[in-house]
């Protein structure tokens, strides 16, 4: 299973705006490269990244071959209650990975 790194603060105050950072292990093969013998190296990228907070989608990204290898995506959210962030990466060749992180909101 590919590694992912998630950075979510463990604790925050209700109403705080927090930054979430995510790094996913993936080659992001563009599909625009050729071998010396002229064959196309098939595209193999992550096409979608989603973050849910206690089940509700709060952030989503469509990715294209122009996203660098090992996609790094950061964004913000307002925290209202303790709970769980769930992250999902979906891509070519059946790629589907998840990760999660918990936060305590006081």
């Amino acid at each position: 299973m590919p590694s992912a790194l998630i950075n979510v603060p463990a604790k925050a105050k209700r109403g705080d705006i927090i930054e979430i950072k995510t790094l996913m292990s993936h080659i992001m093969e563009t599909g625009y490269r050729h071998t010396a013998s002229g064959e196309v190296v098939p595209r193999d990228i992550i096409t979608s990244f989603t973050c849910r907070y206690n089940g509700t989608e709060i952030f989503r990204t469509d990715l294209y071959p122009a996203i660098a290898a090992n996609p790094f995506i950061t964004f913000f959210t307002t925290v209202t209650e303790s709970g769980k962030f769930e992250f999902e990466w979906i891509g070519d060749k059946g790629f589907s990975e998840t990760a999660s992180a918990s936060i305590t909101v006081e």
């Binding site: 590919p2 590694s3 992912a4 790194l5 998630i6 950075n7 950072k21 995510t22 790094l23 292990s25 080659i27 992001m28 660098a68 290898a69 090992n70 790094f72």
Partner: protein
């Protein structure tokens, strides 16, 4: 045309007088030649793609392998304690072979001798991951490779290789990395070639890579035939470079352009 232009620049470099080795006080990690953006990528673990290999290595450390059905952790326990400072001493003298081995070779010796498993291929994901995990445990510690007296003749061989001109461009490592480290080659900074952060994530590679990969790239770059993976010459060159960087801080897994 641009290619020819650059070769002309290199020829000029090659003709320059050979300067002395870099004084201790002027030694600089490749880190200090980078832009703030790239430095930031190295500085924060979540932003540093090399940490993905470290995570993989942590899992491998605990995974049993080979006929012996042993994991690294079964002998070495918690790497955070047992591997602290270890990578800062590599390449190290291996008495059964009578010559130095680098960290990757040490890991593979452990695999074949103690785990009775097949060695990992050079530059394979698993070998990079384990070496990154081990090297990570030395981050911030001073490089001490080459201080073992038994290594002296090998350090010297590595030094000779560093000075030796080779390839169609007839350049030695020294012509760029000692004599011209304060200049640029095309858009890139010429660094002092202190291998403080290996294995490291190179933006050019879009991957983690070993010092041997970097050395082979440089040798290919001067249009010479690169030494084979794991060859004594490459290990001696690694050893010389690490001994030259003695006292500088380990950064693995570093990020470089």
């Amino acid at each position: 045309m641009k290619l020819l232009g650059c070769i002309a620049v290199l020829t000029t470099l090659a003709g320059a007088a050979v300067a002395a080795e870099i004084p201790q006080a002027e030694r600089r990690s490749g880190y200090s030649f980078m832009t703030a953006d790239t430095e930031a990528m190295q500085d924060e673990d979540t932003a540093n793609p090399g940490m993905l290999w470290v995570l993989d290595g942590e899992a491998l450390w605990k995974r049993r392998a080979g006929a012996a059905d042993k994991a690294c952790a079964d002998c070495h326990n918690d790497a955070r304690a047992s591997m602290k400072g270890v990578a800062a001493h590599y390449p190290a003298f291996e008495k059964t072979l009578g010559r130095p081995v680098d960290l990757e070779q040490r890991i593979n010796l452990c695999r074949t001798n103690h785990q009775q498993a097949s060695p990992f291929a050079y530059e394979s994901r698993d070998l990079l991951a384990l070496s990154a995990y081990v090297a990570r445990q030395s981050r911030g510690m001073p490089i001490e490779a080459g201080s073992d007296p038994k290594l002296a003749p090998f350090v010297e061989k590595g030094r000779e290789l560093f000075m030796q001109r080779q390839g169609q461009l007839n350049l030695g490592c020294i012509n760029c990395h000692d004599d011209n480290w304060d200049k640029k080659l095309a858009g890139s900074a010429i660094t002092q070639a202190h291998p403080t952060g290996y294995p490291l994530y190179r933006l050019e590679w879009q991957s983690l890579g070993s010092l041997q990969r970097r050395l082979r790239a440089c040798i290919t770059g001067v249009r010479a035939q690169a030494y084979d993976w794991g060859s004594p010459e490459l290990v001696e060159l690694e050893l010389y470079l690490m001994s030259r960087a003695q006292g500088m801080k380990m950064e693995a897994p570093a990020v470089r352009p």
